[in-house]
C-alpha cells in the first residue's frame, strides 16, 4: 500500500514553473521550496483546514457547547436538529436521553483526538524503535523484528482489542493502551525500510569513521532523515486508531457510556435507526471528516516532503 503515485494525480508539477513576480524556484532554499509546494497542495491545505477546525472545536468545547454533554432531560428527548425543524435551543437536537447533541459532538471530538494522538504516539515509539534497530543493525536483529511484525500482523486487531477490553474493562486507558500496543506494525515496516536506505548513504559511514557514538548516529544522522516517513505514518495510524476506537465503542466494548464518544453515539443512535436517522448521521459525518482530513494531511505531507517520489 505504499505507493506514492496515486496522489501524484493531484500533485503539482515540480516547482520549475514560477508565476510572475515571484522569486524563481532555483533561488529558494529547500525549506522555502517545501513551503511553496505545501501552499500549492490543495489536499494538504484542505486536510489542514478541516483538522484545525476540529482541533479548535475540541479545545474550546466548553465555550461552544451551551449545554452539559452529560445532562439528561426527560422533557427534551429526541428533539430534531435546527435544520430539520428543531429549535436553536438544541442546534443539533437531543438524543434519546435528552442530552444536547451538539455538546456531545464537540466533547466527543476531544475523545477521538486524544485517543488518536496517544495511541499513535505509543505505536510510533514501539514501531520506530523496532524498525530503526532492524534497519540499522540488520542480521539477526532484523530477522527477529521481521518475525515480530509477522506475528503482530497475524493477530486480528479488532478481535484482540475487543477481547482485551472485555476482560480488562472499557476505560479510556485500556482502549488507548490496547490500540497503542497493536498499531505499531506499519511504523516498524516503514522505519525499517527507510533506515536501511539511509544507512547505506556515505555521510552515515563518514560519521561512523569520525568516531560518532551509536546514539549520535541514530539520533543525529538516521532519525532526522527518516522523520518525514514517520510523520506520514503517524497521521495514517492516528486516523486508524480513531476509526478503531469508534468501532470498538460502537460494538459496546470500547469507551463506556456516558462518555461522549462518536462511536458510542452512533451505537446509541442505532436503536432509533428506523425513525431518527440523523442520530447516526451527525456523529458519522464528524468521524468521516476527521479521518478524511488526517489522511489528506498525511498524503499531502508525503507529497510535499518527498518530491522525488512523485512521477
Amino acid at each position: 500500500m505504499s505507493d506514492t503515485s496515486l496522489t501524484s494525480a493531484s500533485a503539482k508539477k515540480p516547482d520549475a514553473v514560477s508565476k510572475k513576480g515571484k522569486t524563481p524556484a532555483h533561488q529558494l532554499s529547500p525549506r522555502a521550496k517545501m513551503l511553496r509546494r505545501a501552499l500549492r497542495h490543495k489536499g494538504l491545505l484542505f486536510g489542514l483546514f478541516v483538522m484545525s477546525i476540529i482541533v479548535i472545536v475540541a479545545i474550546f468545547a466548553p465555550l461552544i457547547a451551551t449545554h452539559d454533554p452529560y445532562a439528561q432531560s426527560l422533557l427534551a428527548r429526541m428533539k430534531p436538529p435546527a435544520f430539520m425543524g428543531g429549535t436553536w435551543e438544541h442546534p443539533l437536537g437531543t438524543d434519546a436521553l435528552g442530552r444536547d447533541y451538539l455538546a456531545r459532538l464537540v466533547y466527543g471530538a476531544r475523545i477521538s483526538l486524544l485517543i488518536g494522538l496517544i495511541a499513535a504516539t505509543i505505536s510510533a515509539c514501539i514501531g520506530t524503535f523496532m524498525g530503526v534497530m532492524a534497519g540499522y543493525f540488520g542480521g539477526r536483529i532484523d530477522l527477529l523484528v521481521t518475525f515480530f511484525i509477522n506475528v503482530r500482523l497475524a493477530m486480528p486487531v479488532v478481535l484482540v482489542a475487543l477481547a482485551v477490553v472485555a476482560l480488562f474493562g472499557g476505560s479510556l486507558y485500556v482502549v488507548v493502551s490496547v490500540l497503542g500496543l497493536l498499531l505499531w506494525d506499519r511504523f516498524a515496516v516503514v522505519m525499517r525500510a527507510a533506515t536501511m536506505q539511509v544507512r547505506k548513504l556515505e555521510y552515515v559511514a563518514a560519521a561512523q569513521v569520525l568516531g560518532a557514538s551509536l546514539p549520535r548516529v541514530l539520533f543525529k544522522d538516521i532519525l532526522p532523515n527518516v522523520m518525514n516517513h514517520l510523520i506520514v505514518i503517524f497521521t495514517l495510524e492516528m486516523a486508524h486508531a480513531i476509526i478503531l476506537e469508534a468501532a470498538l465503542s460502537f460494538l459496546g466494548l470500547g469507551v463506556q457510556p456516558p462518555t461522549p464518544s462518536w462511536g458510542l453515539m452512533i451505537s446509541e443512535g442505532k436503536e432509533m435507526l428506523l425513525f431518527e436517522s440523523w442520530l447516526i448521521t451527525i456523529p458519522g459525518v464528524a468521524l468521516f471528516f476527521l479521518v478524511l482530513s488526517i489522511n489528506m494531511l498525511g498524503d499531502g505531507i508525503r507529497d510535499v516532503t518527498a518530491p522525488e517520489g512523485r512521477n
Binding site: M1, D3, S5, L6, A9, S10, F147, N150, V151, L153, A154, M155, P156, V157, V158, L159, V160, L162, A163, V164, A166, L167, F168, A239, I243, A246, A247, F250, L251, G252, L253, G263, I266, K270, L273, L274, S277, I280, T281, G284, L287, F288, F289, V291, L292, N295, M296, D299, N311
Partner: protein
C-alpha cells in the same frame, strides 16, 4: 521452489505458534478464570470446584501446552456459554464468514481492477479522478457507519433488501458491499500504479511499434504483469477482511464466525474467544503464505530470496 515453500511454511508455523501463545496468555492475564466462571461472590469451595474441574490453578505453561495439544487434534474445549464443543460451534458458523469473505473480495476486485486500469490508461482523466475520489473517501468512511447508512437507505427507505439475518442471498448484498469496499482503495491504487509502471516499459513500446492492437497490448502484455502484485495484495487483504468481518457481521446480524466472536466476547466465553482468535490468525497466516507462494510462482526472481 520447494526449498522456498518449505522455508515459508516453517516461518508460517512459527508465527502461528507464537500468536497462539500470546493470545492464550493474554486472556489469562485478565484475571482468574475460575472466578470468572464461579462468579464474583463465589466461596472458596466453589472456586476450588471449578479449579478441580478445569485445572486453572496449574502453571500457565502446562495449561497452554495442554490446550495446544488438544487444539492440534481439533478439540478446542467446551464453550462456557453455549456448553457445546467450541469446534462444533465454529464449524457451524465458519461457512457464512468464508462466503462473505469470498463475496466481499470478488466485489472489491471487480470494482478496483477495472477502475485502476482505466485510471492508469488515462491519467488525470475524469475516471482517474473518480477512482482517486473513491479511494480517498473509501478510506475515511468507518465501515460500521457505512453499513448503517446502507441499511437506512436500501432497507428502510427503499425496502429493497433485508436489514439483518442470513437466510437468503439477499441478506448478503449489503454486507458484501461493506466488507468489499474496505479492500477496494488499496487494490485500486496498486492496480493503477502497476499499470502506469508497466505501460511505460520498453516491451510495451516494442509491442506498440510492432503494430499490435491496443486491446491486445493492454490485456495480454500490460495487465498480466501489473496484476502480479495485486493478486498477492488481494490474498493478504482477504486475511484482514476475515478478521474484520466481526464488525460487518454484528451490524447485519449475519450468523457467521465473526458474530460468534462478538457473542463470545460480550459473554466472557473464554474458550470460544481463544479458539476464534487462533482461527482468524490462522486464516491470515494461510493467506499471506498463499500470497508468497503465488508471487514466487508468477515471478521466479523472488524465489532466490
Amino acid at each position: 521452489m520447494y526449498m522456498y515453500i518449505l522455508k515459508r511454511l516453517g516461518l508460517a508455523l512459527l508465527v502461528a505458534f507464537t500468536v497462539s501463545a500470546i493470545s492464550f496468555s493474554l486472556l489469562f492475564m485478565a484475571g482468574d478464570p475460575a472466578i470468572a466462571i464461579a462468579g464474583e461472590n463465589a466461596s472458596a469451595e466453589d472456586i476450588q470446584m471449578v479449579n478441580d474441574r478445569y485445572g486453572f490453578d496449574r502453571p500457565i505453561v502446562i495449561q497452554y501446552f495442554e490446550w495446544l495439544g488438544k487444539a492440534a487434534t481439533g478439540d478446542l474445549g467446551n464453550s462456557w456459554y453455549f456448553d457445546l464443543p467450541v469446534s462444533d460451534l465454529i464449524a457451524d458458523r465458519l461457512g457464512v464468514t468464508m462466503l462473505l469473505g469470498l463475496l466481499g473480495m470478488s466485489f472489491a476486485l471487480l470494482l478496483a481492477i477495472p477502475m485502476g486500469v482505466a485510471a492508469a490508461v488515462k491519467p488525470n482523466s475524469l475516471i482517474d479522478r473518480a477512482s482517486l475520489f473513491i479511494s480517498v473517501v473509501g478510506q475515511a468512511i468507518p465501515s460500521f457507519w457505512f453499513g448503517l447508512i446502507l441499511i437506512v437507505v436500501f432497507s428502510i427507505k427503499l425496502g429493497l433488501v433485508p436489514a439483518s439475518g442470513s437466510t437468503s442471498w439477499k441478506h448478503f448484498i449489503l454486507p458484501t458491499i461493506v466488507l468489499g469496499y474496505y479492500a477496494t482503495p488499496a487494490i485500486m491504487r496498486l492496480t493503477r500504479a502497476g499499470m502506469l509502471e508497466v505501460l511505460s516499459a520498453d516491451y510495451i513500446r516494442t509491442a506498440r511499434a510492432k503494430g499490435l492492437s491496443a486491446r491486445k497490448i493492454m490485456f495480454k502484455h500490460a495487465l498480466r504483469n501489473a496484476i502480479i502484485p495485486v493478486i498477492s495484495l488481494a490474498a493478504v487483504q482477504m486475511g484482514f477482511m476475515l478478521g474484520g468481518s466481526i464488525v460487518v457481521e454484528s451490524i447485519f446480524a449475519l450468523h457467521g464466525a465473526g458474530f460468534l466472536a462478538w457473542e463470545s466476547i460480550s459473554r466472557n466465553d473464554l474458550p470460544t474467544m481463544q479458539a476464534l482468535i487462533l482461527i482468524f490468525s490462522m486464516f491470515y497466516i494461510f493467506f499471506t503464505f498463499l500470497a508468497d507462494i503465488l508471487n514466487a510462482w508468477m515471478d521466479p526472481r523472488l524465489r532466490i530470496a
